[in-house]
Symmetry: C2
Subunit: 106 residues, 2 copies
């Protein structure tokens, strides 16, 4: 197995970003989340959330649904199964890195 | 405790960057590493390594020593105790996030 530092450079860059990691983590726990709920949970600006959600959408990791509640526009996000697989893989990867880094110091 | 997605936005930004995480991980395992060895381990360019090592140096997380072996300049990096503490804290933080994310899905 490659050294932890080499493994780190192979982490999924799309997921490793702090905001995108937050979006996936939130959607892994809830079947659906609104733009407003995600924004509050992640403590980010509208612009920041939009940009990063769009990247995950383009990768096919999440789906964005727009609708109206009366006259109020509503945006809901859900995670795709491809997104869940990629996120699981990232977590396994990070877990292995943490273990290897700590193991080496013993 | 805050939800995993909120915790993620509080991860140490200085450490979370892929290359900087790699540098700290490598130096946590070795007492000292040369610029060349780090570059090979992380599979990054000279410029990329320089920029990120400088940021960690400015934060007081690593120390850079320049010397000569004959006429060949040599740059060696070591981790400071502040760097080790910050890195440990980051790993604990990431570990808690992984656990919380997985726990929530059960």
């Amino acid at each position: 197995m490659a050294a932890p530092e080499t493994q780190i450079t192979r982490l999924d860059r799309l997921i490793h970003d702090r905001v995108r990691l937050g979006i996936l983590s939130a959607l892994a726990a809830s079947s659906e989340m609104s733009f407003g709920d995600l924004k509050a949970a992640l403590e980010v600006t509208d612009g920041n959330l939009s940009v990063h959600a769009r990247k995950l959408e383009e990768a096919g990791y999440i789906i964005c649904r727009k609708s109206f509640t009366g006259r109020t526009p509503r945006t809901e996000y859900t995670m795709t199964s491809a997104g869940r697989r990629a996120f699981e893989k990232y977590l396994d990867h990070m877990d292995a890195i943490i273990e290897a880094t700590r193991g080496k110091k013993k």
